[in-house]
Symmetry: D2
Subunit: 411 residues, 4 copies
């Protein structure tokens, strides 16, 4: 056994990789605390807890960060109309700083000097994790086994991991592996790597047998070919929704068909996931530029996020001054790039969030839209702060409204 | 009769307004030359010619500018991924400088000192027309009757126009007017004004009885409600297309289903209009900010343009360096704004086109996509200039490719 | 005598032009209230008051707006490092919205429906005046005689103005006119037009006989040739100053030589004008692009503004995060352009000021500099919020400081 | 002796550090080729050659890159008005990719797999060197001893280097070290580190005894305090120069006093260094943000570069369309940042250079300026492509000129 090295908090997923990492860290002499974030993914959290303890974790934290994910990370992205490289709604990128922030909190609570994660050395997630950790706790030390020669040389392929798992009593998955990797949270599912690395291979669709909840629940077949199957089987009548915004944040959704409403952030977002997923909304196949400098192909499904992107864009255009919008658009472009690259907790990203938030003060009103066969159609909009007025020009209208607001405040 | 004032070239549409303007200009003492651009709209051009001559036009020019519209105006917009305020593909804005350029050419050929148009004083089109005219021919004088008190005070409403028409033998439309106004060209149809001015009114759909060609031909019902009807009646199998790009310009489209191909710019564009229209692609309902400072609601249909937007975005992301892309994105944002505001023929817009064109040199390859139920899905892509390579990082890969190219040139 | 037209508030300078305008407005049937802003220029205000009353003004307002000019207009420009086209410190552009705001206030207080100014139809000032008036009081009507044919056709040249003046008892200047026009306020003096319109003519210098106060007082000879004369006669020892900033605003200046200090905004600014003027700091000869679309040559003297530009740039670089700085720099570029073009009171300019102000929260510290022979040299700087630290990298340092600040607040 | 490792080309300066590195690399088993770039610094190149050979270099390259430095690196920076963080003219940053390009060329000519440099692990220069090397030759391997533990742990301080030098017969400098480090090339001298690391310490000036040529030759005392002494002793009459530009590049300088002219790039630049240096032009003391994320204080002297910055800014403003200028300004901001950070040979920097070059086509004309007591004053300008014209507005003027140019081409 190695020299004792102190305590490490491991971002644990319950899967093969981080289970092996847990055991390996113990071998290296660390006391391991496992931390598993509930951020909306389908998971048997109690089974994961037992598994981690069985593998020797000193302690297990299972933390539900769903609500803060929506309120503190997704809402600012909605306000920004955040979009990376014109297409990607940043589902994974938004989740990482939320997960990692809690990781640091736990490390500080437990007096741990180390945190560890299972991200590889080629992807964005290592960067996103570590920038958050260093930003929030400059003295923390990050252990990234997939970047350590003593780890990656020991596990050059999946076989070696499997062998190690069997040897150390780590339960090995019995179902065959999908030929790509997935990441799931409340905001989106992504499919990457494996056979999808060839950018002209068409995603063959997800086995129908796979159980599903969250975004997954509502879209049984994610593939783009699957879209057509999905849409053939998707409802033949649209759902018409009304979404109310205040300061650029969705406050309430009403289904014009059955009158259903949702008002709390988390419930509203889950409801939109249900509706959008049912109609196959928000699936894209793109090639994007990773932080580390290579191009990568990803297939993403972002149901609620896609509806909110379109709805917010519309109410913003309706209520925000043209020139303010142009400036804000430039800020949001930068914001999206920073979020993608893991800089959520940086001073520049915080500055941008403050500026963008400031721009949203008059973004209030209701957007009516329909969801149907993979599409979101805006049908109409109304707002007490509309700058839409056929008679008056821009500057006059702006100050007319300002004075109304002032008068109201005086009353 | 008024004093002779010289010759004016009138941008003539054949409709009630410009017919009345033609007669009115004659009354003011002008010799009127009528000019009607064929830019892909449905129109009985010969009937329009006869009508103009009957109303007293000294001469009539009917000019087919379709091909130059596609090659010189739409292709640069495709290269730019041009999008105004995140949503509008600029169909009308691209057509205006193409139409007005020919207007100036005719005026110069005819030695006319004046040009005239029927655009109103509140819209973008007056600006787009006039900036082009002044830019290309600084000494030209623009007559804009709808901004002249002696004209607009005489015709405060449609009734007065109708009376004037009857009195002067101008044929009056017999079908009832649609409760909005439309503009159509090869790139798009727009629906604006009238009942649509209320931003929460849902567009009730176009009468099925209306004949249609061009974008119109392929989308019998344009309304957004109509989308669902349209999509209910739209084909239940997707069309899968392959689009080949060179230097960011589409060179060939192949239908993977029936093997049909189109290669010339104009035919390729019309073919994409057909396919996209059949599946109801490219319909949006937005509020935008006009040049003159007010917000305006428009409903647009841009079938081929929407396919090309998605396809070009994809092949560009696949072949262009990440950082070049970011710079080019900023330039394109500015380009879109200038085009919207009528500055196509300005020095800054020309500069941007040159820079954007330069960025497209390696944008070559084929995108495979499907068109179905109002959506465009990217399925895959390939390119001889792909920067997609899982092993190498950005700068190294760029120079590796550069040297290959150089070698090839040397051979 | 014309029909009574109501009351107009005239921005009155006391000079020949606005005196003639005052009388002419009365002839047109207006009741004229004269308003003269004291914004730091040399002027015999009491003489101006008597003159206006003698010419028939119903009332005269002489308003000292110096302090609000410094605090509400110059300070935000210092925070922004505002610079138009890389060179112009915006002295006139900052003064106009300050002067015009008071003009509107007086019109509202007096129940006047009209305001009037003496700016010409080719310059920036008409735009700056009128955008402020319309923005702050959408219903106000602006009378701009130099754009009215009935006025400018009556006064095609200076002779006609002189004749009119003599006829109506308007005192005519006895000294010969300078061969250019000047504008002066606390921030700067500008020299434009006349012989300076030829961009290769070298400014021959101001007659030494002209009295001078303000920026003028401290720089007897403004010409660029004069600079050398000026600097030959300027002190042969530098003045060394320490300027303390809080939130990007100068709070105190100390002269390291004689220990003199100034702390109130207005006194501090006037003191810097004295010191900088003595050493001939802040004189430039440029060609700039006017709002109305032509290039214009201007010669400017901005003594205190030049010192503060350099000092603020330095303390900001010392205390602001690199990436925040880059974003803020982009915002400030836009801000400068808006200010130049008269959009101070627009929503986008207000938004930018809020964002820029937000960026200044940690811009605190002291800059030591010397002023000598026309130059400002930074000598050193210190700050409790410095991000300068050779050991730590950016993100870590930022959060270390943040937590310190938080701790302090908790104490 | 270590195992043979192949050939390394070392960027050799002749100083203590790289001499020790040369010997150390040999100890590690490398064959060492020394490369010393002549980029305008004061140096006894033949002595350096002998020294390198004496220390065991297999071969020594001394390459004069001065002319290409001016033409291929400084001229594009002049066209861009390149300025990092509003103040730094990029003297060192421009030299690095020029020096490193030759380094790679030599490595390729010699079939060497390795290049080495003596830059430290905290500065910008390591990045600038290595990005160039990897970009131009993706397979090259960079040996950076100051980042290798086996090197930096052996030489924790200057004493250990001195001991090593004595032991290996490396000549040790006899004059006491300056309490800061310097870098010198044709463009500038920089002073950093040592006692200057304290940002409030005032630079005490360079010993008058130090020999000087190049920028150094013309400014015996570089300190900012020294400026005043320097300027007291600097000439009491200005030099008036006329600089002619074509396509944004200086083509000829004429001294209005004695009629001296210089036309070739290198001679022109050296002449401007002489004149500017004589008058103490171009000295600044700043804090800047390094690539690696820390703030750093630097004192720079850029004589000719400062004159050309002001002159080019002026002729550009005079001849370039306002809106093109704004776009170009944004591109140049990005360009400056890339150059500072070492990305000269990146695709995005190449793209920016092409765009900026394109913007310079009409930047032609002559600027008259004076140089005196540390300042550059613009006196006037003229150009056959001036857009300065009091009668016409922007778009009209632009196209009027365009057509003139076209006509001329047709003649």
């Amino acid at each position: 056994m190695a020299q004792p090295k102190g305590t490490v908090v491991l971002a644990y997923s319950g899967g093969l990789d981080t289970s092996c990492i847990l055991v390996w860290l113990k071998e290296q002499g660390y006391d391991v605390i496992a931390y598993l974030a509930n951020i909306g993914q389908k998971e048997d959290f109690e089974a994961a807890r037992k598994k981690a303890l069985a593998l020797g974790a000193k302690k297990v934290y299972i933390e539900d960060v769903s609500r803060e994910f929506v309120e503190e990370f997704i809402w600012p992205a909605v306000q920004a109309n955040a979009l990376y490289e014109d297409r990607y709604l940043l589902g994974t990128a938004l989740a990482r700083p939320c997960i990692a922030r809690k990781l640091v909190e736990i490390a500080q609570r437990e007096g741990a000097q180390y945190v560890a994660h299972g991200a590889t050395g080629k992807g964005n997630d290592q960067v996103r994790f570590e920038l958050t950790c260093y930003a929030l706790c400059p003295n923390i030390k990050v252990v990234a086994p997939w970047r350590l020669p003593e780890f990656y040389q020991r596990f050059p392929g999946r076989c070696e991991l499997m062998d190690y798992a069997k040897k150390h009593g780590i339960p090995v998955p019995v179902t065959p592996q999908t030929p790509w990797s997935m990441d799931e949270n409340l905001m989106h599912i992504s499919y990457e790597a494996g056979i999808l690395e060839n950018p002209k291979v068409i995603h063959p669709g997800r086995p129908a047998s796979m159980a599903a909840t969250g975004p997954r629940a509502v879209s049984c077949i994610c593939s783009l070919i699957g879209n057509f199957r999905g849409q053939s089987t998707s409802p033949n009548t649209p759902d018409v929704l009304e979404i109310e915004f205040e300061k650029g944040v969705p406050m309430k959704v009403t289904n014009a068909g059955d009158g259903a409403t949702r008002s709390s952030a988390l419930e509203l977002f889950i409801y939109l996931n249900d509706i959008a997923g049912k109609h196959g909304v928000g699936r894209i196949d793109i090639v994007e530029n990773r932080f580390v400098g290579m191009k990568s192909r990803g297939i993403y499904e972002t149901p609620a996020g896609t509806i909110l992107y379109h709805a917010h864009l519309d109410i913003e255009a309706f209520t925000m001054d043209r020139e303010v919008r142009k400036i804000k658009q430039g800020l949001a472009l930068k914001f999206s790039e920073l979020v993608y690259n893991g800089f959520w907790h940086s001073p520049e990203c915080e500055f941008l969030r403050q500026c963008i938030k400031r721009s949203q003060e008059a973004v209030v009103g209701t957007v009516r839209l329909s969801v149907f066969k993979g599409q979101v159609y805006i049908l109409g909009r109304e707002s007490p702060r509309s700058l839409y007025n056929e008679e008056l020009v821009r500057l006059k209208e702006y100050h007319r409204l300002q004075s109304k607001v002032t008068v109201k405040q005086d009353e």
